[in-house]
Symmetry: C2
Subunit: 174 residues, 2 copies
């Protein structure tokens, strides 16, 4: 799988705590290797690392980064998810043609600065309706990796076994 990272812009710790946690865990579950968050937020870092410690994998989180140089100088293909962009049905084949090294997926909290639309290699709409950056990220990754993200074994101490009814959890630390 192509090395893929997420850049989360405009995170406000009080207001966006829950949604940004959803963004980070979605990035991890659907195949990204890490997330960069524009605002420093140690509680968010701890929450995400606690999931990685228990459920496995090597997903990384970094908060408080200078996102402008980071995005502008990113050494790969950047994909800004926005309802104003090229429809995902049309965009994914174009992205696959050029994304060979690394991919950075950019998702904003609310309004995104105009520079992002210029600096991103692609602006992609998961449809052109308002909905959710969590939904947009999940569906983009699921389609781009053709479901492979969800089929990986993360090899964690805690493992959930698929089950028709109820819960089956294996916990190696017990």
């Amino acid at each position: 799988m192509l090395d893929t990272y997420v850049l989360r812009l405009g995170h406000r710790p009080e207001r966006d705590k829950r949604v940004t946690t959803h963004v980070a865990l979605t990035a991890r579950a659907f195949g990204a290797k890490g997330i960069f968050v524009s605002t420093k937020d140690e509680e968010l870092e701890n929450n995400v690392r606690s999931v990685v410690d228990r459920f496995g994998g090597d997903f990384q989180i970094t908060t408080g980064i200078k996102w402008k140089p980071f995005l502008k100088e990113f050494d790969g293909t950047s994909v800004h998810l926005t309802m104003y962009g090229t429809h995902v049905d049309d965009a994914i084949p174009l992205i696959k043609d050029v994304a060979t090294r690394k991919m950075l997926i950019v998702v904003g909290a609310e309004k995104v600065p105009p520079d992002v639309y210029q600096w991103a290699t692609f602006n992609v709409g998961m449809g052109n309706q308002p909905h959710s950056e969590v939904a947009a990220l999940a569906v983009f990754l699921d389609r781009f990796f053709q479901g492979e993200g969800l089929r990986r074994d993360m090899d964690g101490n805690m493992k959930i076994l698929p089950c028709e009814r109820g819960k089956k959890v294996v916990n190696d630390t017990q």
Copy 2:
């Protein structure tokens, strides 16, 4: 497209306001016809109706419903999205075999009462890792409807036109 509704359990207006709004708008954008929310929340109703008024379609929201009889007596196929369930890769073909009339997708806020696992026709995991009910709902609908949800024209007064850079919005009410 099969008539599909979403049932949101455990919504706490203060804590879950933003995430439940994401759930509702994701349901609308990816092809569901309406959402039922267990807790009464007029602000949530108004926010979602305001999107429907501007961006089109006939998506319905109802809050403050008695979810136990509603789920138990649902006249169709119910699909509870949970990280403990049958892997989506295996579940979708099974659901397509039996879901012919109506489908109800159940998503919880945090812990879901054990009854839900028994009453749902299917318990389905979008992978078996913790992430987000918004992501789970989006990917389930996107896969079930094979992307058709995102290709519909909602025929709203406001319409966003796909665009490589920047924003193109047509507003019929101006």
